[in-house]
Homo-oligomer: 327 residues x 2
DNA sequence: GCGGGCTGTTAGAGCGCTCTAACACTACGC
DNA sequence: GCGTAGTGTTAGAGCGCTCTAACAGCCCGC
């Protein structure tokens, strides 16, 4: 920095102003500094800047599982919104482990990020709440009753209702649900299924098979239904992966989809969009959720203290696994 | 830090030593400092540490596309290896755009990372080489003729040879290839296909259809082959996504897989492993590649200057889309 | 001609650590 | 007893920036 200042014939302070894009610098000085900086290959040292300014203009983004494309779309939304607000993001991978998440969060803290976004975080609620007391924290995809942490979630119940209503509109009456067990969002999805079945006057025909968000759960769920005798004309699974397992098992059984059985998943993953699969499913506006998380963080930094819990509506994407009910 | 030192009744320097885990501290002092730090909730400021020490113990990891699970596995390998060596990693998302990648790399530089790993990077070769001149840089999944940058890649040709040999061993003689076009690794995959066909005495039966690593390319490739009349008994596609497109189109045509046509993909993505798809494909040892990248970086930091280009062998994963050739 | 306001620039302290070199203390050999 | 070596601890400079407060120079109005 000293070298640049000397080369440009100005003071260090002025170099600092130029590098930060201050408007109160004459065009002449600005050009001189820019040129000197470029010539010397000068690039401000972030650590020094952060230390001196007491802020990092950085948000930490903790993604629970990089293997899951769900998080990639959240990250995209976060990225765009943060860019727009002049914030950088650093991403950490939770690797589906609370211990790894904990270390990632620790390093965010050590780095003194201005805020953090926890996506699909597995950390104990108490820990998250504790973080929120010290730093601006937003949780995405994990509902929370914290008094410090804002949340962004989809309306899981509504998603289930869309799925059931879609199937009911197609004339289905026997609609079974393969559950997500203890997975994130499974409970409200099931509750939404039950509520929508009741609302459609099909309350007596509710059937829930235990599952756990995996492909195997879908396979197993179909087997349970087969063994039970009266097979449903439609199956609504708690996520896409289970739907694909179910699809597989149905075809093995010689049942055509949607000819004999209609199938609806949840999440609208890339899998669902594959033409080979063409799964009707419930979509969450993930990029929007990411952007929303950033906005909540920015508001926090503006000293908002009231907790906000945003719930965004999902929508149904109709593809080729759902069709009219047969007699 | 001053507070902790005062609370523990020692000097600031000693607090620093304890926080960094130095062995030359008495147990008594260590315990006193640890306790005081815990009580006061003290956490060393990374920015200050980095600034003072002149190193960050951090590697920047640039992933070209978070949506692609390929990168998640690379990241896992990197994570584990870096952890073991006492390095932190920060991940940036290139979002398939050279401009975004460029900014990410700039911020790594500004942060003064000790090294960076570029996975599937789209940046111009000259730019990467320039980075390598200043910092320790390793490129994964992108071959490079740089004089400063180490690389880690799979042996794409060998992968193709494994695929062709597998099919030839099953008795296939008409094996077509749906190409990856200008995508990364497409050229050597095609070259490997041609070489292996020749080696198997099937040189005269080589057939390459243009593609581009997408599902549509697979669909289109099958259509081209259908239009050509003599249909092959096996198809080897440049990646899994194309294979799935091909699979789809083959089934639409009433051709059974592997009854009428065998199909082999490349990459062993999660898609291939879905039971519903069960694609025979070529696997790259991605976690190993990530770990290797870290080791190369560590060697660089130990002042190795000779460029190393690691090539790791792929393997074939046989599932249910490949079977004996029919007459 | 002078005070006031504006613009552009700067000196210098300080951010929270690490690191070097020095120092106090104990143990040991002769 | 003294020199030597080793162990544990510390003072203080310095890392590369930002930021406050002050200042120089200029234009303006009266």
């Amino acid at each position: 920095m000293d070298d640049v200042a000397a080369a440009a014939g100005v003071s260090r302070a002025l170099v600092s102003l130029v590098m930060r894009g201050s408007p109160r610098v004459s065009d002449r000085s600005r050009a001189a500094v820019r040129q000197a900086a470029a010539r010397l290959g000068y690039r401000p040292n972030l650590a020094a800047r952060n230390l001196a300014s007491g802020r990092t203009s950085t948000f930490g983004v903790l993604l629970n599982d990089l293997h899951n494309p769900w998080f990639a779309e959240i990250a995209d939304g976060i990225h765009d919104a943060a860019d727009g607000a002049g914030y950088q993001i650093i991403i950490a991978n939770g690797r589906r482990s609370a211990a790894t998440e904990d270390r990632a969060v620790e390093s965010f803290l050590a780095y003194r990020v201005d805020g953090m976004i926890l996506a699909g975080c597995r950390l104990p609620a108490g820990r998250i709440d504790g973080l929120g007391a010290k730093t601006a924290v937003v949780s995405v995809g994990r509902p929370l009753r914290s008094s410090h942490v804002d949340t962004v979630n989809t309306d899981e119940r509504l998603g289930s209702e869309l799925a059931v209503r879609h199937l009911a509109d197609l004339g289905h009456r026997d609609i079974a649900h393969i559950d997500g067990g203890r997975g994130a969002g499974a409970a409200p999805r099931k509750a939404g299924y039950l509520a929508a079945m009741n609302a459609a006057g099909l309350g007596a025909r509710c059937r829930v098979v235990a599952g756990d968000f995996t492909e195997e759960a879908g396979v197993h769920g179909v087997e349970v239904l087969l063994a039970a005798g009266r097979f449903p004309t439609a199956i609504y699974t708690a996520n896409d992966l289970s739907a694909i397992g179910a699809l597989d098992r149905l075809e093995d059984e010689g049942l055509s989809v949607p000819g004999d059985v209609s199938l609806v998943g949840f999440d609208n993953t890339a899998l669902a969009a594959l033409h080979h699969i063409g799964l009707t499913t419930i979509d969450q506006p993930r990029a929007t959720m990411g952007a929303l998380a950033v906005h909540l963080l920015l508001e926090r930094l503006e000293r908002r203290t009231i907790v906000r819990r945003e719930v965004v509506p999902p929508s149904i994407v109709v593809r080729s696994t759902s069709g009219p009910a047969h007699a």
